[in-house]
Symmetry: C2
Subunit: 147 residues, 2 copies
DNA sequence: CGGCGTTAGTTCGTCGCGCGAACTAAGAGG
DNA sequence: CCTCTTAGTTCGCGCGACGAACTAACGCCG
Protein backbone atom coordinates (compact mmCIF):
# COMPACT_ATOMS: atom_id res chain seq x y z
CA UNK A 1 0.00 0.00 0.00
CA UNK A 2 2.52 2.51 1.19
CA UNK A 3 4.58 1.68 -1.85
CA UNK A 4 1.75 2.67 -4.17
CA UNK A 5 1.22 6.00 -2.47
CA UNK A 6 4.90 6.73 -2.21
CA UNK A 7 5.47 5.76 -5.80
CA UNK A 8 2.73 8.15 -6.82
CA UNK A 9 4.31 11.00 -4.95
CA UNK A 10 7.68 10.15 -6.38
CA UNK A 11 6.50 10.15 -9.97
CA UNK A 12 4.56 13.32 -9.34
CA UNK A 13 7.61 15.07 -7.96
CA UNK A 14 9.61 14.05 -11.00
CA UNK A 15 6.88 15.28 -13.31
CA UNK A 16 6.60 18.59 -11.49
CA UNK A 17 10.31 19.17 -11.41
CA UNK A 18 10.64 18.41 -15.08
CA UNK A 19 7.88 20.89 -15.82
CA UNK A 20 9.49 23.53 -13.65
CA UNK A 21 12.72 23.23 -15.58
CA UNK A 22 10.85 23.85 -18.80
CA UNK A 23 9.32 26.98 -17.31
CA UNK A 24 5.81 25.64 -17.01
CA UNK A 25 3.61 24.33 -14.21
CA UNK A 26 2.58 20.70 -14.18
CA UNK A 27 -0.98 21.72 -15.07
CA UNK A 28 0.27 23.53 -18.13
CA UNK A 29 2.37 20.48 -18.90
CA UNK A 30 -0.71 18.31 -18.83
CA UNK A 31 -2.59 20.70 -21.04
CA UNK A 32 0.22 20.70 -23.58
CA UNK A 33 0.47 16.91 -23.51
CA UNK A 34 -3.24 16.55 -24.16
CA UNK A 35 -2.93 18.91 -27.10
CA UNK A 36 -0.04 16.98 -28.63
CA UNK A 37 -2.42 14.75 -30.53
CA UNK A 38 -4.77 17.44 -31.80
CA UNK A 39 -6.51 20.72 -30.96
CA UNK A 40 -9.45 20.55 -28.57
CA UNK A 41 -12.38 22.64 -27.47
CA UNK A 42 -12.52 24.11 -23.98
CA UNK A 43 -15.29 21.83 -22.78
CA UNK A 44 -13.52 18.83 -24.16
CA UNK A 45 -10.37 19.80 -22.31
CA UNK A 46 -12.33 20.29 -19.13
CA UNK A 47 -13.66 16.77 -19.37
CA UNK A 48 -10.27 15.27 -20.16
CA UNK A 49 -8.43 17.07 -17.41
CA UNK A 50 -11.24 16.85 -14.88
CA UNK A 51 -11.56 20.62 -14.47
CA UNK A 52 -14.48 23.00 -14.28
CA UNK A 53 -14.80 25.16 -17.34
CA UNK A 54 -13.98 28.27 -15.39
CA UNK A 55 -10.69 26.68 -14.36
CA UNK A 56 -9.92 25.92 -17.96
CA UNK A 57 -10.30 29.52 -19.01
CA UNK A 58 -7.61 30.59 -16.59
CA UNK A 59 -5.26 27.74 -17.43
CA UNK A 60 -5.52 28.39 -21.15
CA UNK A 61 -5.16 32.13 -20.52
CA UNK A 62 -1.89 31.68 -18.70
CA UNK A 63 -0.55 29.12 -21.16
CA UNK A 64 -1.53 31.37 -24.03
CA UNK A 65 0.18 34.31 -22.36
CA UNK A 66 3.32 32.17 -22.32
CA UNK A 67 2.99 31.73 -26.06
CA UNK A 68 2.51 27.97 -25.97
CA UNK A 69 -1.07 27.61 -27.15
CA UNK A 70 -3.56 29.73 -29.00
CA UNK A 71 -7.30 29.96 -29.29
CA UNK A 72 -8.65 29.53 -32.78
CA UNK A 73 -12.24 30.09 -33.82
CA UNK A 74 -14.15 26.94 -34.68
CA UNK A 75 -15.45 27.33 -38.23
CA UNK A 76 -18.37 24.99 -37.47
CA UNK A 77 -19.53 26.72 -34.31
CA UNK A 78 -19.23 30.44 -33.75
CA UNK A 79 -19.25 30.26 -29.98
CA UNK A 80 -16.74 27.43 -29.69
CA UNK A 81 -12.99 27.70 -29.60
CA UNK A 82 -10.25 25.32 -30.55
CA UNK A 83 -7.16 25.39 -28.40
CA UNK A 84 -4.06 24.42 -30.33
CA UNK A 85 -0.33 24.33 -29.76
CA UNK A 86 1.71 27.15 -31.23
CA UNK A 87 4.96 26.30 -32.97
CA UNK A 88 6.74 27.22 -29.76
CA UNK A 89 4.41 25.07 -27.71
CA UNK A 90 4.91 22.16 -30.04
CA UNK A 91 8.66 22.38 -29.70
CA UNK A 92 8.50 22.68 -25.95
CA UNK A 93 6.05 19.87 -25.35
CA UNK A 94 7.99 17.49 -27.58
CA UNK A 95 11.06 18.04 -25.47
CA UNK A 96 9.19 18.11 -22.20
CA UNK A 97 7.41 14.88 -22.97
CA UNK A 98 10.55 13.05 -24.00
CA UNK A 99 12.53 14.33 -21.06
CA UNK A 100 9.82 13.45 -18.55
CA UNK A 101 9.58 9.93 -19.93
CA UNK A 102 13.32 9.63 -19.68
CA UNK A 103 13.25 10.68 -16.06
CA UNK A 104 10.42 8.43 -15.07
CA UNK A 105 12.17 5.61 -16.84
CA UNK A 106 15.29 6.40 -14.87
CA UNK A 107 13.34 5.87 -11.68
CA UNK A 108 13.10 2.20 -12.49
CA UNK A 109 16.70 1.86 -13.56
CA UNK A 110 17.34 -0.40 -10.58
CA UNK A 111 15.05 -3.02 -12.06
CA UNK A 112 15.94 -5.64 -14.60
CA UNK A 113 14.18 -5.41 -17.96
CA UNK A 114 11.98 -8.35 -17.00
CA UNK A 115 11.03 -6.70 -13.73
CA UNK A 116 10.29 -3.47 -15.47
CA UNK A 117 7.98 -5.28 -17.85
CA UNK A 118 6.27 -6.97 -14.94
CA UNK A 119 5.81 -3.64 -13.16
CA UNK A 120 4.43 -2.01 -16.27
CA UNK A 121 2.04 -4.87 -16.84
CA UNK A 122 0.68 -4.88 -13.32
CA UNK A 123 0.35 -1.13 -13.16
CA UNK A 124 -1.25 -1.09 -16.56
CA UNK A 125 -3.91 -3.49 -15.36
CA UNK A 126 -4.55 -1.45 -12.24
CA UNK A 127 -4.99 1.66 -14.32
CA UNK A 128 -7.26 -0.07 -16.80
CA UNK A 129 -9.39 -1.56 -14.05
CA UNK A 130 -9.97 1.87 -12.58
CA UNK A 131 -10.26 3.96 -15.66
CA UNK A 132 -14.01 3.69 -15.31
CA UNK A 133 -14.76 7.28 -14.31
CA UNK A 134 -12.73 9.95 -15.99
CA UNK A 135 -10.05 8.87 -18.33
CA UNK A 136 -7.33 11.25 -17.69
CA UNK A 137 -4.64 11.08 -20.18
CA UNK A 138 -1.22 11.98 -19.28
CA UNK A 139 1.89 12.67 -21.27
CA UNK A 140 1.13 10.17 -23.86
CA UNK A 141 -2.41 9.03 -24.23
CA UNK A 142 -1.70 7.08 -27.35
CA UNK A 143 1.52 5.74 -25.92
CA UNK A 144 -0.51 3.86 -23.38
CA UNK A 145 -0.39 0.22 -24.37
CA UNK A 146 3.14 -0.71 -24.98
CA UNK A 147 6.38 0.58 -26.26
CA UNK B 1 6.26 4.30 -18.73
CA UNK B 2 2.80 5.63 -19.35
CA UNK B 3 1.52 3.17 -16.81
CA UNK B 4 3.74 4.65 -14.12
CA UNK B 5 2.63 8.18 -14.80
CA UNK B 6 -1.03 7.28 -15.10
CA UNK B 7 -0.85 5.18 -11.99
CA UNK B 8 0.61 8.13 -10.14
CA UNK B 9 -2.22 10.37 -11.25
CA UNK B 10 -4.75 7.74 -10.35
CA UNK B 11 -3.45 7.27 -6.81
CA UNK B 12 -3.20 11.01 -6.42
CA UNK B 13 -6.78 11.49 -7.47
CA UNK B 14 -7.91 8.89 -4.95
CA UNK B 15 -5.89 10.54 -2.23
CA UNK B 16 -7.26 13.98 -3.05
CA UNK B 17 -10.83 12.79 -3.21
CA UNK B 18 -10.54 11.02 0.08
CA UNK B 19 -9.16 14.20 1.65
CA UNK B 20 -11.93 16.28 0.18
CA UNK B 21 -14.53 14.04 1.72
CA UNK B 22 -12.93 14.55 5.10
CA UNK B 23 -13.10 18.29 4.63
CA UNK B 24 -9.39 18.85 4.19
CA UNK B 25 -7.04 19.48 1.29
CA UNK B 26 -4.49 16.88 0.34
CA UNK B 27 -1.72 19.10 1.70
CA UNK B 28 -3.44 19.28 5.04
CA UNK B 29 -3.86 15.52 4.84
CA UNK B 30 -0.14 15.09 4.36
CA UNK B 31 0.59 17.39 7.25
CA UNK B 32 -1.72 15.43 9.53
CA UNK B 33 -0.23 12.11 8.39
CA UNK B 34 3.27 13.31 9.15
CA UNK B 35 2.14 14.39 12.61
CA UNK B 36 0.55 11.02 13.36
CA UNK B 37 3.82 9.69 14.73
CA UNK B 38 4.80 12.70 16.81
CA UNK B 39 4.77 16.50 17.01
CA UNK B 40 7.29 18.34 14.85
CA UNK B 41 8.86 21.73 14.54
CA UNK B 42 8.09 23.99 11.60
CA UNK B 43 11.51 23.65 10.01
CA UNK B 44 11.38 19.93 10.42
CA UNK B 45 8.01 19.83 8.69
CA UNK B 46 9.32 22.01 5.91
CA UNK B 47 12.10 19.53 5.25
CA UNK B 48 9.80 16.52 5.40
CA UNK B 49 7.17 17.95 3.12
CA UNK B 50 9.60 19.69 0.82
CA UNK B 51 8.15 23.16 1.45
CA UNK B 52 9.66 26.57 2.09
CA UNK B 53 9.15 27.70 5.65
CA UNK B 54 6.92 30.52 4.58
CA UNK B 55 4.65 27.96 2.92
CA UNK B 56 4.52 25.99 6.14
CA UNK B 57 3.30 28.94 8.14
CA UNK B 58 0.26 29.26 5.95
CA UNK B 59 -0.49 25.56 5.84
CA UNK B 60 -0.28 25.23 9.61
CA UNK B 61 -2.34 28.41 10.02
CA UNK B 62 -5.17 27.02 7.95
CA UNK B 63 -5.03 23.60 9.52
CA UNK B 64 -4.97 25.17 12.96
CA UNK B 65 -7.95 27.33 12.05
CA UNK B 66 -9.77 24.09 11.25
CA UNK B 67 -9.00 22.86 14.74
CA UNK B 68 -6.87 19.90 13.65
CA UNK B 69 -3.44 20.91 14.90
CA UNK B 70 -2.07 23.36 17.41
CA UNK B 71 1.19 25.19 17.96
CA UNK B 72 2.81 24.48 21.29
CA UNK B 73 5.84 26.31 22.68
CA UNK B 74 9.01 24.25 22.75
CA UNK B 75 10.25 24.19 26.35
CA UNK B 76 13.84 23.76 25.17
CA UNK B 77 13.85 26.59 22.67
CA UNK B 78 11.88 29.77 23.14
CA UNK B 79 11.75 30.68 19.49
CA UNK B 80 10.75 27.21 18.26
CA UNK B 81 7.28 25.78 18.01
CA UNK B 82 6.00 22.24 18.12
CA UNK B 83 3.08 21.47 15.87
CA UNK B 84 0.89 18.71 17.28
CA UNK B 85 -2.43 17.08 16.46
CA UNK B 86 -5.41 18.16 18.51
CA UNK B 87 -7.79 15.48 19.77
CA UNK B 88 -10.02 16.33 16.84
CA UNK B 89 -7.13 16.13 14.42
CA UNK B 90 -6.09 12.79 15.83
CA UNK B 91 -9.54 11.36 15.34
CA UNK B 92 -9.81 12.69 11.83
CA UNK B 93 -6.41 11.58 10.64
CA UNK B 94 -6.89 8.08 12.01
CA UNK B 95 -10.01 7.71 9.93
CA UNK B 96 -8.62 9.51 6.93
CA UNK B 97 -5.52 7.38 6.91
CA UNK B 98 -7.40 4.12 7.20
CA UNK B 99 -9.94 5.08 4.59
CA UNK B 100 -7.33 6.25 2.14
CA UNK B 101 -5.40 3.01 2.51
CA UNK B 102 -8.60 1.11 1.95
CA UNK B 103 -9.27 3.01 -1.25
CA UNK B 104 -5.82 2.65 -2.63
CA UNK B 105 -5.98 -1.02 -1.83
CA UNK B 106 -9.22 -1.23 -3.70
CA UNK B 107 -7.46 0.08 -6.80
CA UNK B 108 -5.53 -3.14 -7.01
CA UNK B 109 -8.51 -5.37 -6.34
CA UNK B 110 -8.27 -6.73 -9.85
CA UNK B 111 -4.95 -8.32 -9.00
CA UNK B 112 -4.39 -11.66 -7.34
CA UNK B 113 -2.69 -11.59 -3.94
CA UNK B 114 0.52 -12.83 -5.50
CA UNK B 115 0.41 -10.12 -8.14
CA UNK B 116 -0.27 -7.51 -5.52
CA UNK B 117 2.75 -8.64 -3.59
CA UNK B 118 4.85 -8.51 -6.71
CA UNK B 119 3.64 -5.00 -7.48
CA UNK B 120 4.34 -3.86 -3.95
CA UNK B 121 7.80 -5.36 -4.02
CA UNK B 122 8.77 -3.79 -7.32
CA UNK B 123 7.36 -0.42 -6.43
CA UNK B 124 9.01 -0.59 -3.04
CA UNK B 125 12.36 -1.11 -4.68
CA UNK B 126 11.83 1.76 -7.07
CA UNK B 127 10.96 4.04 -4.18
CA UNK B 128 13.92 2.89 -2.13
CA UNK B 129 16.29 3.35 -5.06
CA UNK B 130 15.19 6.96 -5.41
CA UNK B 131 14.96 7.95 -1.80
CA UNK B 132 18.21 9.85 -2.21
CA UNK B 133 17.02 13.37 -1.45
CA UNK B 134 14.48 14.31 1.18
CA UNK B 135 12.21 11.79 2.74
CA UNK B 136 8.75 13.08 2.87
CA UNK B 137 6.32 10.87 4.61
CA UNK B 138 3.01 9.95 3.33
CA UNK B 139 0.20 8.19 5.04
CA UNK B 140 2.67 5.68 6.17
CA UNK B 141 6.31 6.37 6.11
CA UNK B 142 8.56 7.90 3.64
CA UNK B 143 8.62 8.70 0.01
CA UNK B 144 11.12 10.56 -1.95
CA UNK B 145 11.26 13.99 -3.28
CA UNK B 146 13.62 16.05 -5.24
CA UNK B 147 15.68 19.02 -4.35
C1' DC C 1 29.86 39.59 30.29
C1' DG C 2 28.95 41.55 25.60
C1' DG C 3 28.71 41.46 20.86
C1' DC C 4 27.47 38.94 16.66
C1' DG C 5 26.33 35.54 13.40
C1' DT C 6 22.84 31.70 13.19
C1' DT C 7 18.47 29.65 13.41
C1' DA C 8 13.15 29.49 14.02
C1' DG C 9 9.17 31.46 12.54
C1' DT C 10 6.21 35.13 10.83
C1' DT C 11 4.71 38.71 7.57
C1' DC C 12 4.03 40.54 3.07
C1' DG C 13 3.33 40.71 -1.79
C1' DT C 14 2.93 37.95 -5.89
C1' DC C 15 1.53 34.34 -8.70
C1' DG C 16 -0.89 29.90 -10.10
C1' DC C 17 -4.78 27.05 -9.45
C1' DG C 18 -9.60 25.46 -8.76
C1' DC C 19 -14.34 26.38 -7.81
C1' DG C 20 -19.33 28.09 -8.23
C1' DA C 21 -22.42 31.64 -9.63
C1' DA C 22 -23.68 34.89 -12.82
C1' DC C 23 -23.36 36.33 -17.41
C1' DT C 24 -23.09 36.68 -22.86
C1' DA C 25 -23.51 34.78 -27.16
C1' DA C 26 -24.44 31.41 -30.51
C1' DG C 27 -26.64 26.90 -31.90
C1' DA C 28 -31.06 23.98 -31.93
C1' DG C 29 -35.77 22.89 -31.90
C1' DG C 30 -40.33 23.25 -31.47
C1' DC D 1 -40.07 33.31 -33.31
C1' DC D 2 -39.19 32.34 -28.84
C1' DT D 3 -37.20 29.32 -25.79
C1' DC D 4 -33.78 25.92 -24.18
C1' DT D 5 -29.31 24.44 -24.27
C1' DT D 6 -24.39 24.71 -24.96
C1' DA D 7 -19.67 27.17 -25.12
C1' DG D 8 -16.93 30.21 -22.90
C1' DT D 9 -15.81 34.18 -20.02
C1' DT D 10 -15.87 37.00 -15.82
C1' DC D 11 -15.78 37.66 -10.97
C1' DG D 12 -14.82 36.81 -6.26
C1' DC D 13 -13.19 33.52 -3.13
C1' DG D 14 -9.81 30.57 -0.71
C1' DC D 15 -5.77 27.42 -0.88
C1' DG D 16 -1.01 26.73 -1.98
C1' DA D 17 3.83 27.96 -2.95
C1' DC D 18 7.53 31.10 -3.14
C1' DG D 19 11.29 34.73 -1.93
C1' DA D 20 12.55 38.72 0.58
C1' DA D 21 12.46 41.15 4.63
C1' DC D 22 11.85 41.08 9.44
C1' DT D 23 11.84 39.75 14.71
C1' DA D 24 13.41 37.18 18.36
C1' DA D 25 15.80 33.73 20.79
C1' DC D 26 20.25 30.91 20.74
C1' DG D 27 24.91 30.17 21.04
C1' DC D 28 29.46 31.04 20.65
C1' DC D 29 33.79 33.36 20.86
C1' DG D 30 36.57 36.59 22.74
Amino acid sequence: MGALVRGAFLVNAVYAESAREYGITSQQGQLLCVLMAQPRGMSELGAMLGLAKSSLTGLVDRTERNGLVQREPDPQDMRAVRVALTAEGRGLVDEFYAETCRRVERLSSGLSPAERDALGGLLGRVVLDNEVPAVFLEPGEGAAREH
